[in-house]
């Protein structure tokens, strides 16, 4: 147990230097890009003196190193600063609320992606060469090739406009989750299906499977007890990637369905040159990936008893 705790703590501590480096790179990249939040706020109405005066007021005219230091010392204290584009809003508050939304959407999308992916993959692997195999793989190819935008609008028109079974846009109630979760999870579902199928095919050819069958175990028990569990180990590899993508790559889905998640906030902040929000978003995304990968590594230990943490 101690080895496990030490392992987790070590991994989490390694996050800190990672975040510092990432924030530094992002910060100085922001400086090289033309434009600033004041110009974006005022748009066509931005006058030269007005922009300069406001930039001074918001502290944007200080040398980059000074500004970066201010940001870093604030972040160390847990204060991520105030947004420029959304005056009066603390960045931590904005991102926190958006992250909760993204978590919920990501969870729903993961459920869909893994539920559908695993089922299709297992069915395909067990019934290799049969119709269900071809159908599953066809669905997987379509799922991975269909652009998010097209799928979102197609589903929106089918279920919201014509059938009127679901709302087109909105957030908050369970009915709002369905279409976005499907759209967001489709590409991951396709990936999971294909990897599960391959893993199943591998495992079903193994000696221990033939042994189990020779012992007289029925086909169903063979599959569920032995094959699937062993197939899960390679499949887990993609769990980290899919979770990460589902939690951070939802920009188009959020944009179309009107969901206030971190995908939208982070991309919009880049367009608006809202530097504190850009910083915090990038750091949040980095943290998400590190934490998810840690969780996946821990899960390997659960699934495969051979793994130890030294």
């Amino acid at each position: 147990m101690n080895a496990l705790v030490a392992y987790v703590v070590r991994r989490l501590l390694a996050l800190i230097p990672t975040l510092i480096v990432i924030s530094a790179i992002t910060f100085f990249m922001g400086f090289t890009a033309p434009g600033d939040p004041v110009t974006m706020m005022l748009g066509e109405r931005a006058k030269a003196e007005q922009v300069e005066a406001l930039k001074a007021q918001y502290g944007l005219d200080k040398p980059p190193l000074v500004q970066y230091w201010r940001f870093l010392s604030g972040a160390a204290r847990g204060d991520l600063g105030m947004s420029y584009s959304y005056q009066g809003r603390p960045v931590a508050d904005m991102l926190g609320k958006a992250f909760v939304v993204t978590l919920k959407l990501g969870a729903a999308a993961t459920l869909f992606a893994w539920g559908t992916g695993l089922v299709l993959g297992i069915l395909a692997g067990v019934n290799r060469g049969k119709f269900i195999d071809h159908l599953s793989m066809l669905l997987a190819i379509v799922g991975v090739s269909l652009p998010v935008f097209v799928e979102a609008l197609a589903l929106m028109y089918l279920f919201a406009v014509y059938l009127r079974w679901l709302p087109a846009i909105g957030w908050g109630e369970p009915k709002h989750y369905v279409l976005p979760a499907i759209v967001l999870g489709t590409r991951s579902a396709a990936l999971v299906a294909r990897i599960t199928r391959s893993a199943m095919l591998d495992v079903l050819n193994q000696d221990y499977v033939r042994t189990a069958r020779a012992k007289g175990l029925s086909g169903g028990r063979v599959v569920l007890k032995h094959a699937v569990k062993n197939a899960m180990i390679p499949v887990m590899t993609v769990l980290g990637t899919t979770l990460g993508t589902l939690l951070t790559g939802a920009f188009i889905t959020e944009q179309i369905f009107g969901i206030p998640g971190i995908g939208r906030i982070s991309l919009q902040s880049i367009f608006q040159r809202d530097y504190p929000v850009i910083q915090a978003s990038v750091m949040l995304v980095a943290t998400i990936f590190v934490v998810i990968n840690l969780l996946v590594d821990l899960m390997y230990g659960v699934v495969d008893p051979r793994i130890r943490y030294s």
Binding site: P34, Q87, K97, F159, A160, E173, G220
Partner: protein, 582 residues
Amino acid sequence: MEGHTLKRMRFAFALMLALSLFLTACSGSKSDPAPNNTSSNTTGGETAAPANQGPKGTLKYYLTDKPTTFDPAMVTDVSTNQILQNVFSGLVTFDTKGGVIPDLAEKFDVSADGLTYTFTLKADAKFSDGTPVTAADFKRSILRNFHPGVGSPTGVSYLDDIAGAQKFMAAKDELDAQLKDNKISEADHTKKVMEAFEALKNDPSITVKDDKTLVLVIDKPKPFFVMKLTYPTGFVVGKSFPDDAPLGAAPENVAKAIGAGPFTMDSYTEGSMVVLKANANYAGEKAKVATVEMPVISSPQARLAAYRAGQIDVNEVAGADYPTLKADPELSKHLLEWAGARVNYLALNQIVLEAAKNKDFRLAVAHAINKEQLVKVVWNDTHLPAYGVLPDTISGANGAKIQKVEYNVDKAKDYLKKSGYEGLEFTITYRAQDEVTQRLAEFIQSQLTTNLGLKVNIEPMEWSALLAASRQKTELESFYLGWSADYPDPQNFLSLLLHSKAPYNRYGYANPEFDAMVEKADVMPNGPERMAEYAKAEQFAISDGAWTPLTYPKNIFLIRPTVKGFSYNSMGVLPLNTVTVE
């Protein structure tokens, strides 16, 4: 080999998944146009039961972006303005023809010298919480725009005609310069700015004569001053607004966003939905609809789908969708179009491009672009061709009477020859936005290349970069930009865009004759003579080829037939208090 167990389990698994999806779907579906509770998981979001008489029904409106602020002193974007201009009110507002009419002030008098404005507030002017609106509230709200802690990006532009404000801004600019040169410390700077702000508070140009009388003194007899008070920076805000900080757009600030407009803010679900409710205490024309739901839908395609699905009852139409909608037997009946208050133009920058200084060259370019074809090919007729600086909706516009710089290839060629710049190569920079803007740039490029033999390069630039570059004035040879009216007065276009010292003159146009005309008109008392002077100035600028106006965008909306009483003006922000919903 495969046992029945396996088949059954597979089937069960798949069925379970399908069922769970279906159940989630069916649990909350088919609840379209019912005006029931909204998903407001915010603090302080009570849903008051609508009165039996009085306002009823729910207007399902929309927002193109989430609100950037709840503070009238801070608003810069149209989407936020759409909310704030319905929740807050000011001394005056404008009517559908662009004229100034009383709002919370029942009348105002202007002194003979045009410098002193005396506003008398309506006796029943109240905030939404029932407390009376006083002149002191207005003074405080106006002054807030200048407080450094509030950091208003726009307050200065709309309120700096007030004499005391000018003094304050001069003092602050001086202190800012000193700080920049390190002549004073930051602490000293802050202290002295606050001293200047205190002086502003006591300045005689903003006086509260009594509870209902406010007196404002401006620096010159500018008649458009009262127009500028129709913008939110001049609106009155409740005592819950901090004096030294902006009120951010957050669910917990809904209860503090107290104004005196036709609606109150009922709830805000961050990033997703704003709900307004009718304000029974509004001193003007009270709202006829009880609730307004405004979901944030940034994607125009999703908005159209939401409209088709009955989730919203009003929608602005994107140019690309216009032909499809016009052809639709049902939806074409929902379309409503009216003229806007914006001009899109092509400017040749005299500071960078030598040829732009030559009037003949400018006129050659102006005569070489076929605007009638432009609005068809690029804009699907969602814009009108523009031949003047002022859209027709702005008084003082020459409109149809203008002596056009019309599309005439022969004239264009003549002017080009006279200018001596045949075969010139230059670059037009435009906003990298979408395929429509791309088509526009290519259209202009092909017109100038084909008709004049010029070598025109087109360069897309990201919005923020384009704004910064055009502001620099020394970077771009020519560019495509536009201007939307802040207030429906010709000064807002002619003086602010084309006067040689104008803040938005990014192309080096400098003509003393033109300057004299607008300087004169800016301080004439309002009336037909003033408008005639601006009309002269507009004609002059056009005939001089100051820049080439291209199009006036129209406002095109889809409005469900059950929504009536929609009052529209050219300004682009729509008052919702006259609307009824069946």
